[in-house]
């Protein structure tokens, strides 16, 4: 009964989406307010019905109704309640339902809080949302219905893939989807602007918070996924340049570029056409990501559905939306008026450089991800493009970007003074040089690259701090005045500083982890001691334990350093009986930002166990950086300018823009 109700609610949501995608745009054409307002109610009702449908599926998983295929294939009555709920989106059908739920959520938010939007713009935006929603409802109902029944219900389910039974997975996909799908709003705004043939600085002001929200979630989602891979896969890797990871990185890169170009558009009314294009590209990359992950077109360290019908369907959606929006762009972009002028050396110029580097870096990732696929389709030659390729292409571009990052906020709008900016960055530069010299001396004979990269990171962090110091006139005026000025700074300035510093911090973590990682891989018997990076790990005992839906072999290590016992570490290996597969649960010991990492391999016949021990210096910075970036995004989101009701579309600004 619940399944049928959920299915029915989904069909009704499709119906509502179809109304939403036709009626309001006709209303906008005819200038009929009542018809345009239909968008608002359908968007909200759609959210209600998808919500009901998702709740129904969750309910089925919670009560373990194995007469539903989806529940049977991915659940087990003995599974802990938390994983019964997270298992809802731990499979193809459920995760697509989550996708449309989030899409409807964003549509509903625009409907509910978009009262200050011009009526026709809101109608157009929600229409485009309706198109996307309708396409994906059709996809779910036609190829991935989560509510299908089994004619003779089995007694027990097949359980969720063990590696997915983890709290990291509970949070990672929803976060990622909030990011992916959140970019649909800027896409809809872009397409709406193209349909209306009108765009101004106010448009950017409406788009920016939505982009920022999506970007924050995507940043956190990617970081979370990376940390999950780090501790769950048992070999301490945190980024594999796997196509599925690239699929989430590409929208992030494009989204970051969009965030910056939207600033130029909002403040200076320039880069309009580019911002529109970037909005389209960002969401296109999100769709491409969905296609790569959902169609099974790529094999990677991630597993996915392998049903070609689904792949073809998503490919159609992909072509329709990307092709359609780009054609619309080609047809209408020339109608958009060009805005403010600026010198190449200026804040705008710096942001253009940022956009250029980010999109080109994104392009290299796209190339590396799709090239093997294209080559195989065209010539049948198989090859793998792995980490070395991306390190050699993405790496240098990102280094260029990081060098440029501190200069951006230091330059004035319209026409900047590069020399002046360099002078103001003197302190950061000196700090970077000291860092390089100290590290080089300290690790003499080791890598020369690592001190340079850390110096760069210090420069970025120092640059962010200098910017704050410069704006508060710290050290030049009494401290109290500087503090008062700090309080008076726009939150978005703080946001910028945090986000840029976060990038630097993540870079330090990445460099330290890859360069000074030490490891011990070998077999150990009880009472053996392994020495790693100044820590002694003594294997005390190996015990067996019965979990709710698995059997577990736990090894207990006593960790000591300089004769002082620090803590116990208990890595384990879980054997999931239902699926006959096992997972490795690594044990982590955090010391500051560094971690000791222990994971287990097979047991030998003589009772010895294979053990992998890593010491990863400053590894946690890799994830603290993105968290800081997201926090910066949040600060920027809370900026007064974005909270206060949208200003009137400023006709006057263009007249005031200095004509050079």
């Amino acid at each position: 009964m619940i399944a049928e109700a959920g299915h029915y609610a989904l069909v009704l949501a499709l119906g509502l989406a179809l109304i939403q995608s036709t009626v309001p745009i006709l209303g906008a054409r005819w200038g009929d307010h009542a018809l345009m307002n239909v968008a608002r109610s359908t968007a909200l009702a759609q959210l209600l019905f998808v919500g009901a449908s998702f709740a129904a599926l969750t309910m089925l998983h919670v009560v373990s109704d194995f007469s539903v295929v989806n529940v049977f294939e991915n659940s087990h009555s003995m599974k802990p309640m938390l994983y019964k709920i997270t298992g809802v989106w731990g499979n193809h059908e459920g995760s697509m339902l989550l996708w449309v739920l989030i899409l409807a959520l964003f549509g509903g938010l625009v409907a509910a809080f978009g009262n200050n939007l011009p009526l026709s713009l809101r109608a157009h935006v929600l229409t485009v949302q309706g198109w996307i929603a309708a396409a994906f409802y059709l996809f779910i109902l036609a190829t991935s219905n989560p509510f299908l029944r089994i004619s003779s219900p089995p007694i027990e389910g097949r359980d969720l893939n063990p590696v997915l039974q983890d709290i990291g997975l509970a949070v990672h996909p929803p976060m990622l989807y909030l990011g992916y799908v959140g970019f649909s709003i800027s896409f809809s705004f872009a397409v709406a602007a193209l349909i209306e043939g009108r765009i101004d600085a106010a448009w950017a002001r409406w788009v920016r918070p939505w982009t920022l929200v999506a970007w924050i979630f995507l940043t956190l989602g990617i970081a979370m996924g990376s940390y999950w891979a780090y501790y769950e896969l048992g070999w301490g890797g945190w980024w594999f340049w796997d196509p599925v990871e690239n699929a989430s990185l590409m929208p992030w890169l494009a989204g970051t570029a969009l965030l910056h170009s939207a600033v130029v558009m909002e403040k200076r009314n320039a880069l309009k056409v580019w911002t529109i294009l970037l909005s389209i590209l960002t969401f296109s990359l999100s769709l491409l990501g969905t296609f790569l992950v959902r169609s099974g077109v790529l094999t990677s360290v991630h597993a996915f559905a392998t049903d070609p019908a689904r792949g073809v369907f998503i490919l159609l959606i992909l072509c329709l939306f990307i092709g359609g929006s780009l054609s619309l762009f080609a047809a209408r972009a020339t109608a958009l008026k060009q805005g403010g002028l600026f010198a190449p050396i200026s804040r705008e110029g710096a942001l253009v450089l940022n956009n250029l580097l980010l999109t080109v870096a994104c392009g290299t990732v796209l190339f590396g991800t799709l090239y093997p696929l294209a080559l195989e389709v065209l010539t049948g030659i198989k090859l793998s493009v792995g980490a070395p390729f991306f390190n050699l292409t993405f790496g240098p571009l990102f280094v260029l970007l990081m060098i440029a990052v501190p200069f951006g906020p230091m330059l004035a709008w319209k026409r900047g003074d590069l020399l002046g900016a360099a002078q103001r960055l003197m302190a950061a530069g000196i700090a970077a040089l000291i860092a390089i010299a100290v590290l080089y001396a300290w690790t003499y004979g080791g890598s020369t690259f690592a001190p340079l990269a850390i110096g760069l990171a210090v420069f970025v962090i120092g640059g962010a701090l200098s910017d704050l110091a410069e704006r508060t006139a710290l050290f030049r005026v009494p401290l109290g005045v500087a503090m008062a000025r700090a309080r008076g700074l726009p939150r978005s300035t703080w946001g910028t500083a945090f986000a840029h510093a976060g990038a630097g911090i993540a870079l330090i973590g990445i460099v330290c982890e890859t360069t000074w990682n030490s490891e011990y891989i070998g077999t150990m018997k009880p009472r053996d001691v392994a020495n790693v990076a100044g820590y002694q790990l003594k294997l005390d005992d190996i015990t067996q334990r019965q979990g709710p839906n698995f059997r577990e072999m736990i090894a207990q290590f006593t960790v000591s350093s300089d004769g002082e016992t620090l803590q116990m570490m208990t890595p384990s290996k879980r054997n999931f009986t239902t699926r006959g597969s096992s997972t490795t649960e690594a044990a982590l010991l955090t010391r500051g930002a560094s971690q000791l990492y222990v994971s287990l391999g097979d047991t030998n016949a003589d009772g010895a166990i294979a053990v992998r021990i890593y010491h990863k210096p400053l590894v946690l910075l890799i994830w603290w950086g993105p968290v800081l970036m997201a926090f910066g995004g949040l600060l920027s989101l809370s900026d007064r300018r974005l909270r206060v009701g949208a200003p009137k579309p400023a006709k006057a600004t263009r007249a005031l823009a200095p004509a050079e």
Binding site: E73, N74, W89, G90, N91, H92, E93, S95, N161, V163, L164, L169, L233, G234, W235, G237, V244, V293, L298, T299, V301, H302, A303, F304, A305, T306, D307, L341, A343, P344, L353, L356, L357, V360, A361, T364, K382, L383, S384, V385, G386, P388, F389, N391, L392, L397, L400, I521, G522, T523, K573, R579, G580, S581, S582, T584, G601, D602, A610, R612
Partner: protein, 163 residues
């Protein structure tokens, strides 16, 4: 500067960045791309010792020998040919005899494939795609592979081990 000059500066800058990126990509393509082979293809193509490639196939049942200090030897077969593989380290959880495997490394002077990375993934419905395609081509294809979508949609990684 006139509007035209500014535009030219912008276009020039963009082209410069694109050129850098293209150079980087071409350079990386030369050194860092690894081709995929099965044992049969490796024998046919006479891959020279020391050239890195990815070897895919099934772990020959009965070939797995565990030595001291995590040294492992096994053979990879594709029905027509087999190639001995030596690896040192912890094998992934999902490594089994008779199951699909992808190893990355190079053949040494004695004709043994020295792997530094071993990837394995299997359940009832899955084997590495490279392996599946290669086996399909040679007619060693079990129909039930891939018939059912591995419904573990979100992200069930191939287990990897790397030295």
């Amino acid at each position: 500067m006139t509007r035209k000059q500014r535009r030219l500066t912008m276009i020039g800058g963009s082209l410069a960045v694109l050129a850098i990126a293209a150079a980087l990509v071409l350079n990386a393509m030369r050194d860092s791309i690894v081709f995929f082979s099965t044992p049969t293809m490796a024998a046919e193509k006479q891959i020279p010792p020391g050239k890195r490639f990815r070897l895919g196939g099934l772990v020959q049942p009965g070939s797995l020998v565990k030595g001291d200090n995590l040294a492992v030897n096994f053979s990879v077969a594709d029905g027509a040919a087999t190639l001995p593989v030596a690896y040192k380290g912890i094998l992934p959880d999902l490594f089994r005899e008779g199951q699909g495997v992808v190893a990355e490394g190079a053949i040494d002077a004695s004709g043994v494939f020295r792997a530094d990375t071993v990837l394995a993934k299997h359940d009832e419905t899955y084997m590495p795609k490279d392996v599946a395609d290669a086996l399909k081509k040679q007619g060693h294809w079990k129909d039930d592979y891939g018939a059912k979508p591995g419904a573990t949609a979100a992200s069930a990684p191939v287990q990897g081990a790397s030295k």
